[in-house]
C-alpha cells in the first residue's frame, strides 16, 4: 500500500483503445525536481503535450506554494504546447469531512481557474477510495478518444435498434466510460463511474483466480444488463427493461454491431 515518492520523472506507456499509446510522465513533486522542470528540462517536458493532469493534495498546508508551481507549469505549457487540455485533480477528498466537501472543492476550483487564465481548465474532486477517480479519468479519456462524435451517433442508433434503456461503451483495459447513449433517463448521475469501479473490482478478483471475464448477463425482475466486447478494445453494456426482449436477441444485436464499431475505432 505504500508507494515510494516518485524520483524525478517516471515514464510509462499505457495502451489505450488499442492503437493509441499514452506516454505517461509521472513527475515527482519534490521541490528540487520541480525546480528542474521549469529550468533545464522545460523544453523536454512541456513540448508535445496533449494533456496535463495536475494533482493537488487537499490537505496541503502550502497551497500558495503549490499554486506557484502550478502557475509555472501553466506558463511552460502555454509556451511549448498551447493546445494542451489541462485537468486539475483536487485529490484525497476522502480526508475532508463529507459536509464540507462540496464547498471546499468549489473554492479550490475558483482559485485554480483564476490562476490558469488564459488557459481553460477542468477540475475534479477525487479520492482513490471511491468512484470519483473514475469519473475524472473517464473525462480525460473522452477528450483523448478520436472520433468521439461519430461514436456517439452510432451509439444512439444502436441503442434505438436494441430498444435498450441505455448503452455504455468502456475502454477494455481500464473500464473507463468513453461514451454512452441513453433512451430512458436515470436518476443516478454517478452511475457510470460506479459501474467502472464495480467491474474493475471484479476484474481484479478474477485475475486472482487466473481468469478474466469475457461477458456477463445479469438480471432481476426489473431489468437485464448485457456486458460483452464490442470491438477489440472496447466493451459495451446494454441495459434493457423490456422483459419481452429475449437475451438471445440482444446478444445477436451486439454481434451484428461489432463489425461497424471495429471499423469506427480503427478509422482515423
Amino acid at each position: 500500500m505504500r508507494l515510494a515518492a516518485t524520483i524525478d520523472v517516471e515514464h510509462s506507456h499505457v495502451r489505450f483503445l488499442g492503437n493509441l499509446v499514452l506516454n505517461l510522465w509521472d513527475c515527482g513533486g519534490q521541490d528540487i525536481f520541480m525546480e528542474n522542470y521549469f529550468t533545464s528540462q522545460r523544453e523536454q517536458i512541456f513540448s508535445g503535450v496533449e494533456v496535463l493532469i495536475y494533482v493537488f493534495d487537499i490537505e496541503s498546508v502550502e497551497f500558495d506554494e503549490d499554486l506557484q508551481h502550478y502557475r509555472s507549469c501553466i506558463d511552460a505549457l502555454q509556451a511549448c504546447s498551447s493546445n494542451a487540455h489541462v485537468f486539475c485533480l483536487v485529490h484525497k477528498m476522502d480526508l475532508v469531512p463529507e459536509h464540507l466537501r462540496e464547498q471546499t472543492f468549489k473554492q479550490r476550483e475558483r482559485d485554480l481557474r483564476q490562476v490558469s487564465l488564459p488557459m481553460v481548465i477542468t477540475c475534479f474532486a477525487t479520492s482513490i477510495w471511491d468512484e470519483t477517480l473514475y469519473k475524472a479519468w473517464s473525462c480525460i479519456a473522452y477528450s483523448l478518444t478520436p472520433n468521439v462524435k461519430v461514436l456517439e451517433q452510432s451509439l444512439n442508433r444502436f441503442c434505438n435498434i436494441c430498444e435498450a434503456d441505455e448503452v455504455v461503451v468502456f475502454e477494455r483495459a481500464t473500464f473507463l466510460v468513453i461514451s454512452h447513449s441513453t433512451r430512458v433517463e436515470h436518476s443516478d448521475q454517478h452511475r457510470f463511474e460506479k459501474i467502472s469501479n464495480i467491474i474493475k473490482q471484479f476484474k481484479l478478483c478474477c485475475s486472482k483466480s487466473a481468469a478474466q471475464f469475457q461477458s456477463m448477463e445479469l438480471r432481476n425482475s426489473n431489468f437485464a444488463a448485457f456486458i460483452d466486447y464490442l470491438s477489440s478494445n472496447t466493451y459495451v453494456m446494454v441495459v434493457m427493461s423490456d422483459p419481452s426482449i429475449t437475451s438471445a436477441t440482444t446478444a445477436m444485436n451486439i454481434g451484428a454491431a461489432r463489425a461497424h464499431f471495429e471499423n469506427l475505432f480503427l478509422a482515423e
Binding site: Q201, A211, N220, S221, F223, A225, S241
Partner: protein
C-alpha cells in the same frame, strides 16, 4: 474513554426464553412468508440463537462483525471506536444467518459475579473467541480457558471456535507456528482445568482477505440443523447438472451456508462471492425500477458470467436471502435449459426443507 465498572452487560429484560431450539427460528422468517403459509408467529430477535464474539480488547471483534455482516470495507474499520458496552446485532432481518451476534467489550471479566453467565451462555449456539496473532497472546489464552470452562458448565452444547486473527501481517511459516503454539497451549490449559472433552476449532483469519468469511461459514454451518439435507441436495444438483462446484451463499454476508462435497477451493469461493457483489451492485443501480424501497435482489435475480478459461459462473436466486452460485465448464452450460429445470426442482426442495422445520421434539 473511561470504562464504567457497572455491569452494563446484565440484561434482565431479555431474561426469558433465552434458550429456544434452533428449528423453530428456521421455520419462520426465511423468505417464505409470501409463498407458503407461515407456521408460527415470527420469533423475535431476542429469542434467536446467539453467536458470542469474545476476546481481549483490540482483538478485532467489532471489525469482524462489521466487515462480515455490515458490508464495511476493512480499511474503514480503523475508524471504529472501542466497544464500551455489549452490542447485540440484529442482522437476522436481512440475512439468512438468523442469529444474534453479541459483541462484547474486550474488558468484560467472566469471573465478575455481575456477569450473568446463565443468561449469556444459556441461549448461545457458538462462542467465537478472537485472539490477536500480532500481539502477545498469553493473556488471551488465559481468558480463553476461563471462558470455555465457565461456559461449558452452563451450557454443554456450545461449540467453541477460536479465530487466530490479524494474520494478514504474518508470513506463512509464522502463521503455522502461531497456530501450533496457540493450539497446544489451549489444549494444555483446558486439560489442566479438567475440561478435556471440549473440542476447540481453530481458524486463521483476517478481515483483509476471504479467510474471515470462510471461518464464519464453517461456524454457521455447525449450527444449522438442516445442513446434511442441504449438502445432499447440492450433491444431487451438482452431479445431475455436471456442475463443477456449487455454493449456497447468503447474499448479505457472503457466508456460504452449504456446498457440495467436492473440495472447497478458496479462490473459487472468493470468485463466487465476488460475483454476488457485482450482481447486487449493478442491480442496485439499474434494477430498482425507481422505487427506493425496492429490492435489488429479488425472485428474478440471476446472472451468467463467462470467463476466459472456458468456465461459466451461474447465479440463481433460491430465496430472499440465499443464492446458488455454480461454476461449470462452458460446454456443459450449453444445455442450460436442462440445468434450469434441475435448478427449479432444487429450489422447491430447499423451500420444503426450511418449511418442514425441526424433527419432532
Amino acid at each position: 474513554m473511561s470504562v464504567s465498572s457497572s455491569p452494563g452487560y446484565k440484561y434482565d429484560e431479555y431474561g426469558q426464553n433465552s434458550s429456544v431450539p434452533y428449528s423453530s427460528s428456521f421455520a419462520n422468517e426465511l423468505g417464505y412468508g409470501d409463498d407458503v403459509v407461515a407456521q408460527a408467529a415470527p420469533v423475535s430477535v431476542e429469542n434467536k440463537p446467539r453467536i458470542l464474539l469474545m476476546g481481549l480488547r483490540r482483538s478485532g471483534k467489532s471489525s469482524i462483525q462489521k466487515v462480515v455482516f455490515h458490508k464495511m470495507s476493512p480499511n474503514e474499520t480503523l475508524f471504529l471506536e472501542s466497544t464500551s458496552k455489549l452490542i447485540k446485532n440484529e442482522i437476522s432481518n436481512s440475512s439468512f444467518v438468523q442469529f444474534q451476534i453479541w459483541d462484547f467489550p474486550g474488558q468484560v471479566d467472566i469471573l465478575d459475579p455481575a456477569f450473568d453467565v446463565d443468561l449469556i451462555f444459556g441461549g448461545c449456539g457458538a462462542l467465537v473467541y478472537i485472539i490477536d496473532a500480532q500481539d502477545d497472546y498469553s493473556d488471551a489464552l488465559l481468558k480463553l480457558s476461563q471462558t470455555v470452562t465457565r461456559a461449558r458448565t452452563v451450557n454443554p452444547n456450545i461449540t467453541f471456535e477460536v479465530f487466530i486473527h490479524k494474520v494478514d501481517g504474518l508470513t506463512d511459516d509464522h502463521k503455522i507456528e502461531v497456530q501450533r503454539n496457540i493450539q497446544q497451549q489451549a489444549q494444555e490449559d483446558l486439560a489442566e482445568a479438567g475440561v478435556d472433552d471440549v473440542h476447540l476449532s481453530f481458524y486463521l483469519t483476517s478481515i483483509y482477505d476471504h479467510s474471515i468469511f470462510e471461518a464464519f461459514s464453517k461456524v454457521i454451518q455447525k449450527l444449522i440443523p438442516q445442513l446434511p439435507t442441504l449438502e445432499n441436495l447440492l450433491d444431487m444438483l451438482v452431479s445431475n447438472s455436471k456442475i463443477e462446484k456449487a455454493f449456497l451463499i447468503d447474499v448479505v454476508s457472503k457466508i456460504y451456508v452449504a456446498t457440495d462435497h467436492t473440495f472447497v477451493d478458496m479462490s473459487t469461493y472468493e470468485l463466487c462471492s465476488d460475483m454476488i457483489d457485482v450482481v447486487i451492485d449493478i442491480s442496485c443501480i439499474y434494477g430498482m425500477a425507481d422505487d427506493p424501497d425496492g429490492m435489488a435482489y429479488d425472485r428474478g435475480s440471476s446472472a451468467i458470467i463467462r470467463l476466459s478459461n472456458k468456465m461459466v459462473l451461474y447465479l440463481r436466486e433460491v430465496n430472499r436471502y440465499l443464492a446458488l452460485v455454480a461454476l461449470l465448464r462452458e460446454e456443459d452450460f450449453d444445455k442450460h435449459g436442462l440445468i434450469d429445470y434441475n435448478f427449479s426442482c432444487f429450489r422447491k426442495a430447499i423451500a420444503e426443507v426450511f418449511v418442514k422445520g425441526a424433527p419432532p421434539q
